[in-house]
């Protein structure tokens, strides 16, 4: 249904222009679901349907390099669907995704990971049988090269690589205050800690962009504060661009550079926290749900 827009975009991106030039053209052609600053990630008119259910309808926004962008919205608004589309788990029915200027709409999840996008999941998604350290080591997967034979012989370079990456993992473990749980099996930890391990695993990938799907759901105040601090640290110290999907409004308003609001699969508002808070459509969406 967006055939024409698609072929337009093809022409533009095939010649690999500088991003900002592209962005200007884009703004002229379709003001509704494009944004215009130099983005690390651009989603264009993303739609997604399962069978007859439309989970996302023409959602598009930019994520600017280095920002914390929050996606909020009532339950079932399509937030997690959007995260799944960005991380390559769902192929959008229509629309396109650009990461660092390159079209990666059709990329597989592992290709997306290789581009430098990591994420956490709304429901716990740890590797249950592995220890905390091993879980985070899996996050180092793309930074390691050891293959079948080197791994089986475990000598020389393979051993050095393993040591080097374990050292990096220990840094993350310390950063997240997980040291006393290092060798515990992941599924024996309390919920809040598991969430933290999952964050650690995604940080271990040293991603350019990190998608956090409700990292603070089910946490008490103290745990939330810890988590917020870690997220901000990751953003500031590690220079990671962050997409945050979160229900807790006070957290969102505190740390987001910008906010995108989804409702019933559509984007109903976008802007800085204050603008969004006063947006009528947003108020209606939230009040409508409460009422």
């Amino acid at each position: 249904m967006n055939r024409e827009a698609d072929s337009d975009a093809d022409r533009r991106f095939d010649s690999a222009h500088a991003e900002d030039v592209v962005a200007d053209e884009v703004r002229d052609t379709n003001p509704v679901c494009y944004r215009s600053e130099a983005p690390i990630l651009r989603t264009e008119c993303i739609s997604l349907s399962f069978g007859g259910v439309r989970a996302l309808i023409d959602v598009g926004f930019d994520v600017l390099t280095g920002e914390i962008l929050s996606i909020i919205g009532p339950n079932g608004a399509g937030k997690t669907s959007m995260a799944n589309v960005i991380s390559g788990l769902y192929r959008p029915t229509s629309g396109r995704i650009f990461f660092k200027g390159q079209d990666r709409t059709a990329s597989s999840p592992q290709a997306v990971a290789a581009l430098g996008i990591a994420r956490t999941f709304q429901n716990l998604a740890l590797f249950r049988g592995l220890t905390v350290i091993e879980n985070i080591l899996v996050g180092r997967h793309l930074h390691m090269r050891t293959g079948l034979f080197a791994g089986g012989i475990h000598w020389g370079p393979a051993r050095r690589e393993e040591l080097e990456n374990r050292r990096r993992v220990e840094e993350i473990v310390e950063f997240l205050n997980l040291t006393e749980y290092r060798t515990r099996a992941a599924d024996t930890l309390p919920y809040g800690l598991q969430k933290r391990v999952e964050l650690g695993r995604s940080l271990a990938a040293e991603p350019a962009m990190l998608i956090l799907d409700e990292p603070m759901a089910g946490m008490n105040r103290q745990e939330k504060e810890d988590m917020v601090r870690v997220v901000v640290d990751a953003n500031v110290d590690l220079k990671t661009t962050i997409i945050l999907i979160e229900h807790d409004m006070s957290v969102v308003m505190d740390i987001s550079d910008r906010v995108v609001v989804l409702d019933h699969g559509e984007k109903i508002a976008e802007g800085d926290a204050e603008t969004v808070r006063q947006d009528e459509a947003v108020i209606r969406a939230y009040l409508g749900q409460d009422a």
Partner: protein
Amino acid sequence: MNDLIYGIELTITGLLIGSMYSMVALGFVLIFKASSVFNFAQGAMTLFAALTLVGLIPLAGFWVALLLTVAVMCGVAVFAERAIFRPLVGAEPLVIFVATLGLAFILEGSAQISWGTQPHGLKLGLPVEPLMIGGVFVSMPDFISALAAAFFVVLLVLFFHKTRIGLGLRAIADDHVAAQSMGIQLRKVWTIVWVLAGIVALAAGMLWGARIGVHFAMSLIALKALPVLIIGGIESIPGAIVAGLIVGVAEALGEGFIGPLVGGGVQDIMAYLVALLFLMFRPYGLFGEEMIERV
């Protein structure tokens, strides 16, 4: 022309045999829908039932033996449900599957300890003169077996769709928790499902026993219900029926036309070949639905 008639005869034979596959596969589908158990032991249960029956016939006569065997199969069903599957409720499907592997070994071993490993004949006293329909030969025993199998298939489908218990089973298949909250007792239903599986095994054991004798290979034949299931789509009742017929025909045609070229035995692997093709190109079978994985 000769080839054509031969082909038609093979197709008919295939359909007749296929109806028995349909019946066994249907037994699988019912268990799977109601309890998510993928029952590898169905083949062993078939062997167990048939061996028990032929073992008891000389001691008690056919009808008493049949009744006793039904009782034994009910006992096996209750035992399996109580001792093996109830403690494993909530385990992963693959764990439960492996438990059915264990059950298969238990049943095969104990049946052969009790009744010996020699092949036994099973005579049901069916007429043997072939039917002649428009120049095409049809084996009478196969025809009667197919009728019986078709009868069973209809019975199972009616049971599943019309009776209270059947409706309960379907409710469970749709949603375990909801069914429980509606007051459907899972455990009772599971026991019933296993009894049903035992009866299907007995029926299959009788029909096949009359055709090829009662011996170990029988459990391998009943095992073909697994590829049949894949072809039909694991949860689909019409799928199991249609796929059973397809496998029967594919086996008969394969054995008839390809068998002589490769030294026979094509029917042993035909079901698996067809299932592999489906797994490669249409993994969720003829009537199955691809599940969308929610993240």
